[in-house]
């Protein structure tokens, strides 16, 4: 009987309920889309910050001075200390998490090209595009980290020595020399424009420092707290080494992330308020409309508690239905927004569904608060038409 009455009520005023439903649906859609976006934005933004490149560097601790000095060609070069490749990279590999976007060892040597000094960096060239995503390349990347026959050169190096992709580069260092094919020219917009990049084994052979590296660069995504935790984990497993964040990158990243998150969060709260307001207004109107029905029910002997329950059930059904439909629309909206803003769609978060639906039912019931006045309804007055 109760269910039938609710059903009749819903069917009986389809038009009015339709308007209320539209209000609930649109509110739920906007709220669930924004909540979805809010939960995902941090992950998206931390990924974007990886454009900045490496944010962690591992090097020999400055206190320990036991490494083999790299005798550079220029005596002006302060001798850096080298570290054991297998020990350090083993630990880095062991502690690798999905947050580590890229990691690569570096060994620098100042070699000569036809008498002129040039900085040669030995690294894993397959990691370079991931470690430095903003570099522009003319030619081809080198896909293998063991290819000892090819190299990449900076823009200024190419200009200085007039080398095009496919050309040959002859590097010499303390009597040793290496002949490399230039696979591509890098436009890095930084000091790297003046450097030559080759794979680590090739540079180690040239420098005569097999199995040794100067530093390791890592690009780690995540909030500053997570990067900090990863840094200290890495530091405890590498005693005697210096694991330090590149402060320029990490500091700016942290503050920008916080600000963006705060901004979006405060906007979401404001929109929540507005949506609640519009649903509230619609529901209040609906409740007032029902006065006549109440009068009739009271006149034929319905207890007031039951009448109120009846209407609350009606309103609750409305909130739940609208919330559910709105959630589905909202997920689609969030996907579209993600596509539009970040170029990749945002994964729907199902835990938003119960949250939004509960919120909508709550707001709808709050909107039905004027029903409380029903107790005061005098059937005779109402039915007379006043």
């Amino acid at each position: 009987m109760f269910a039938r009455l609710v059903w009749k009520l819903v069917r009986g005023s389809r038009g009015r309920l339709g308007v209320a439903l539209v209000a609930v649906i649109s509110g739920a859609a906007v709220i669930s889309a924004l909540l979805n976006l809010q939960f995902d934005i941090e992950r998206k933004l931390t990924q974007e910050f990886r454009l900045l490149g490496a944010n962690l560097v591992i090097s020999r601790s400055s206190a320990a001075q036991t490494g083999v000095a790299n005798q550079a060609a220029s005596d002006a070069l302060a001798s850096p200390t080298l570290m054991d490749q297998s020990a350090v990279l083993g630990q880095v590999e062991r502690l690798r998490t999905p947050d580590v976007v890229a990691a690569a060892p570096y060994l620098y040597v100042v070699a000569r090209v036809g008498g002129a000094p040039v900085v040669v960096a030995g690294t894993w060239l397959d990691q370079t595009p991931k470690l430095d995503p903003t570099w522009k390349l003319e030619g081809n990347w080198i896909a293998s980290r063991v290819d000892e026959t090819q190299c990449l050169i900076g823009r200024n190096v190419a200009r200085q020595f007039q080398i095009a992709p496919g050309g040959q580069l002859e590097l010499s260092y303390l009597g040793r020399s290496a002949q490399l094919r230039v696979a591509g020219i890098i436009d890095a917009g930084g000091a790297e424009d003046n450097q030559v990049f080759a794979n680590l084994p090739a540079v180690q052979t040239l420098a005569g420092t097999q199995g040794e590296i100067e530093l390791v660069q890592l690009s780690v995504s995540g909030t500053s707290a997570r990067i900090g935790a990863y840094t200290s984990r890495l530091a405890t497993s590498l005693p005697g080494y210096d694991v330090r964040p590149i402060r320029q990158v990490t500091q700016a990243e942290g503050s920008l992330l916080d600000r963006t998150r705060l901004l979006i969060a405060s906007m979401v709260v404001l929109i929540l308020l507005l949506t609640a307001l519009s649903v509230l207004a619609t529901m209040a109107a609906l409740a007032l409309e029902r006065r006549k029905d109440v009068g009739l029910m009271k006149a034929i002997g319905g207890p007031i508690s039951r009448i109120v329950a009846l209407f609350l059930a009606e309103v609750g059904v409305l909130g739940a239905t609208g919330g559910l439909i709105g959630c589905i629309l909202g997920v689609a909206l969030a996907r579209w927004m993600g596509q539009r803003v970040f170029g990749t769609s945002i994964a729907p978060r199902w835990d938003i569904f119960p949250l939004t639906i509960a919120l909508m039912v709550g707001v709808a019931l709050a909107g039905a608060l004027p029903l409380r006045l029903l107790g005061r309804v005098k059937p005779a007055v109402i039915l007379r038409g006043e």
């Binding site: 209000a23 974007e48 002006a76 100042v110 200085q160 917009g189 700016a252 507005l274």
Partner: protein, 427 residues
Amino acid sequence: MFARLVGESFIRNRRRKLLTAAALIVGMAIATATLTVALEVGDRMAREFRSLGANLIVTPQSDTLPVEIGGVDYRPVDEGAYLNEADLGKLKTIFWRHNILGFTPFLDVPAYVSQTGGSTTVIGTWYEHEVSVPDGTTFKTGVSLTHPWWKIQGQWFRDDAKECVVGANLAAKYPGIAIGKTLNVSPSQTAKAQFPLIVTGIISTGDAEDNAVLVPLSVAQDISNHPGQFRQLFVSALTKPADTLAERDPKSLTPTEYDRWFCSPYISSISYQIEQVLPGTDVRAIRRVAETEGTILSHVSILLWLVTIAALVSAALAVAATSATTVLERRAEIGIMKALGATNAIVTGIFLTEQLMLAIVGGAVGFALGAVLAGILGTSVFGTPAPPHMLLLPVVLGLAAVVSMIGSLIPLRRAAHFNPAPILRGA
């Protein structure tokens, strides 16, 4: 008569009018606040990004290849080209001079420091230096603006004193180097010239400067015997994210496009203008910084505009819903008016006038509240309040009027088809 009808309605239905006005005020306040923040956010975020430091590097054009590892140039002093310190004031004369937030010249000199017993890099720079600009003013700039993440323990050197700041690693390695001690710097081990410098602080940068000695630019010039010269200039400029126009070659632009490009603070147009005032230089964007800034800035502002649109739609819905409610509640009134012979036009006119008056009052109050709200938002997010945009007042008033009219027009149109008799009978 018309005015009296409208006036009476306000006096008799005060509570209902207050409800509609409240919805209008809240809706419009939030619309104003989100619009104000959205208008401001690009500029604010761009300023925040300057915590990444310099985004442009100026180097001499006809230069030999710098032997640069980790930001320090290891070339001997007699090799390569130099730039003139005296020209630097011209940077503040370009079209986008106000967007040049700071610049710092660098001169890296390999030198002999007796305390380390070996060759150490001495970096000459400015901490807070007054540059005289050709228009007669002065501009204070230095590493505090272009390298804001450098941390100092103790004091920075004064730019006109014989003082220096040593890198953290160097200080840790040699116990003879500490704040208050004097460092003996000379161009080489055998050189007669000695430059005694008092250590005022220890710097940690997380980069190659940790192994170097930082000195005032004038001292480095004396050590290298290159008075009034430097090698590299770092510029921190406020820029706009690059779009398709910014990426095109300036030479291929039509005159109108060229004007638009020149008058937009793109990183490419700012570097072009710097090259014009500093001839013989090569100005390039530090792509890592510039591109990250551009991508994230444009994404955050698109996101914020989408959120703002969502806020506007919610505000519109809220106002329209309350307007519709008030009209629906007054069906009996409409019935009486029509029974007394009022035409649909008169009924609609009365209701719309009431809504319009409410919209103007509610919109204005909402705008004022919204400006306060935007100030709070701006303070909590960026530390400084967002100034109110008076331009938004007509926009918000218009929005309030249109939305509340549309909200009441829909039920009014339906009311036009009402037959007064059943309404008055109470059916």
